[in-house]
Symmetry: C2
Subunit: 228 residues, 2 copies
DNA sequence: AATTGTATTAAACATCTGTTTTAAATCAAG
DNA sequence: CTTGATTTAAAACAGATGTTTAATACAATT
């Protein structure tokens, strides 16, 4: 193992270890000693490789959003119906956020940065969030007509993403509210189906969540009134 | 000013000052010296009145959710249509979160605690979140039929709250994404109207967001197919 | 007026934390 | 093998941070 390799190795080890610890405790509460200990590096390594603690943090945030967006891009054929694209988008997003099998520090760290922005935030938004927003935007253009304004399309996007984010950011609250016996609904399949149907129904591309006979009759009557 | 009054005064001053600073920086990054300085108290005051820093934090979180829920309870007459109740609920919630005129440290501190729970979280959920959830629950029972399961009603509630929370927790991101010229849509009137229509449409209680003629025809045909 | 319990203050303490220094080790190039 | 640059290691440093101590001020009680 030569010096360069060793160099890159500790550098990389520091970044990923720091990512985990920053994601868990936040920038201030994470200590350089803790990071170095878990990375098997000397305390001085951080300052040598990254200048200071903030430099390491910024690189960790950058590492968190490099190679992550491919999870959401080109995941479906162009010919697929827009409603199905949205369903897939929602599902991929939930998997991305809620999948516990793979290390979750990347999304946790990014969400921390987005809620509590430092100088790393702008790059994160441009490199990671905006590409996602554009994918959603494209789906939106297919789904809704030209009569829907640009601004309204942004709001629709926020409504969809907001629903998905809730289960990541406020999962502890959802757990407490639901109680032990109802936790089962907090899995990806159920949530993806619900958010998809809720959102598509809001856009008039799926049946409303309530499918009661009388309510549906009322609803259809109302629609006809507008339509004619 | 007698001793007892002075006592209560510094105690209260410490709690509200701590609330502001904890809300702004989080538990770890906030320093007792900063809190005491801004509260005009001695450094030892925190340990004298609250035992330690964590004790003060817990009292600050408690102060943040005492007397705050009345903003959401009994704000409408029982006879009001459920759709209007939901509109009001959403509006009140947004005002509660986004109103910049009143000190916002209470909601910010609560959201911090909810996203990063300490021992103060359980009480916060029971005293503040659950009452709100029950109000929303009651509206939900009026809006949807008995055919909608308990679990599904929870998910509907999370969809509504998730949309509202997005603009509080991730406002910086929304700002960056929208750019300067589109910031105007991030005001309470526009957001309340959008979230209300989006959610009511999802439940079949309002027109879908897209009101294009052809799309509407398709939509109605689909509804009829289910209805008959 | 003396005493007592409570609240405030200034100072000190012990530990933690980010950073720097200095020296040793490692390794590629000449 | 030597040289020179790069990386690691141990120790120390300076400042910040939560907490404690001991003295003081003050109001109520005896």
């Amino acid at each position: 193992m030569n010096a360069q390799a060793q160099h890159d190795d500790t550098r990389q080890r520091l970044i990923s270890t720091a990512g985990e610890i920053f994601a868990e405790h936040g920038f201030k509460a994470a200590t350089v000693r803790d990071i170095c200990a878990k990375a098997g590096a000397n305390v001085a390594a951080i300052n040598y490789h990254f200048g200071d603690k903030l430099g390491l943090y910024i690189e960790a945030v950058q590492a968190a959003h490099c190679g992550g967006q491919d999870l959401l891009l080109q995941a479906w054929p162009e010919s697929m119906p827009a409603t199905e694209k949205l369903r897939l988008f929602i599902r991929k997003m939930l998997e991305h956020f809620l999948d516990d099998t793979q290390p979750s520090w990347k999304t946790r760290l990014m969400l921390r940065e987005l809620a509590d922005p430092t100088e790393a935030c702008a790059k994160l938004v441009e490199n990671y969030i905006r590409p996602m927003a554009e994918v959603l935007h494209a789906i939106g253009l297919e789904l809704v007509t030209d009569q829907v304004s640009e601004e309204q399309r942004w709001l629709i996007g926020f409504s969809i993403v907001g629903q998905c984010l809730f289960y990541k950011v406020h999962r502890p609250v959802a757990n407490l509210l639901l109680g032990a016996e109802r936790q089962s609904i907090l899995n990806i399949d159920v949530l993806a189906e619900h958010i998809s149907q809720f959102s598509l129904a809001a856009l008039g591309k799926a049946l409303p969540v309530t499918c009661d006979g009388a309510a549906l009759t009322d609803h259809i009557r109302r629609l006809h009134a507008v339509h004619n």
